[in-house]
Symmetry: D2
Subunit: 90 residues, 4 copies
């Protein structure tokens, strides 16, 4: 069983909460709510996205690098991780 | 007409694109896609959220600080902006 | 007296602490210290830089936008702020 | 030869450039330069720090996880990396 299969319910719950936060922003813009409040909602989406990212990165590091027996496999998993980190460490 | 009313269609389109990206992550997890690919999808959501934030921050700076005639009004708009920036500049 | 003149001692102390942290990294690399420890030192420099940035941004918002009587002056201060924020909200 | 020994000259040059940038901020504050210019100098320090971090993280991933033969060693290197990433993905 891949690590994603095992963690699937937990990850899906996290993504659906994130979708709920986006829908809250959509409603707030439709209702022309105060833009300071909308800014706070967007900040919370960024925080939730960062949390999801941290979880996926640590899972990837574990299951596609640390627990991989052969070095070639680890090189592939490591290269994927490095390329994602570059988008975060701009 | 408040600045949000004027920008409403553009902002809503942006938020709905962001929701579409989250739904793409949901489908990828359900289909147990490769976690490297899912990480890239999440990175693109973070980029889109940052872009939305930049736009809202600049609108807020303009319409709630720069264009406000009285200093007390500017203090209020400026305080809201500073508190949102603190969540970003951690 | 400009706001920088008033805050000069405090800002200079903060920048010199940051320089001290960089010199600690320099010594750690020269002594070939464990790279995990060096990574933590670099992370603390990034935190200190972010703290200095937050202080300068809030000062700039206050003294070059909020407290400026004429709108043209506020436009200039606001444009400078927006361009700095873009480097942070990539 | 540890990877830090091999990369030492390059890393030291990078850290000394960063120190030079901090000293430029110190001089600008002493000379009470325009705070917009100082903000840009601080933004460039943050960029340089992020670049140094990316290099150290990729080196760490390579030399303390990917190239490590035994899993226990990889667990240690991976745990160090995860803890540094948490300071960046706040």
């Amino acid at each position: 069983m891949s690590h994603l299969t095992k963690d699937k319910p937990k990850l899906l719950a996290r993504v659906r909460r994130l979708k709920g936060q986006i829908e809250a922003i959509e409603r707030a813009i439709e209702a022309e709510k105060d833009c300071g409040a909308i800014l706070q909602l967007v900040a919370s989406v960024r925080g939730a996205t960062t949390g999801l990212t941290q979880e996926l990165i640590e899972d990837h590091l574990r299951h596609h690098v640390i627990l991989i027996e052969d070095e070639t496999g680890r090189e592939k998993g490591g290269a994927e991780l490095a390329s994602v980190l570059r988008t975060y460490l701009k």
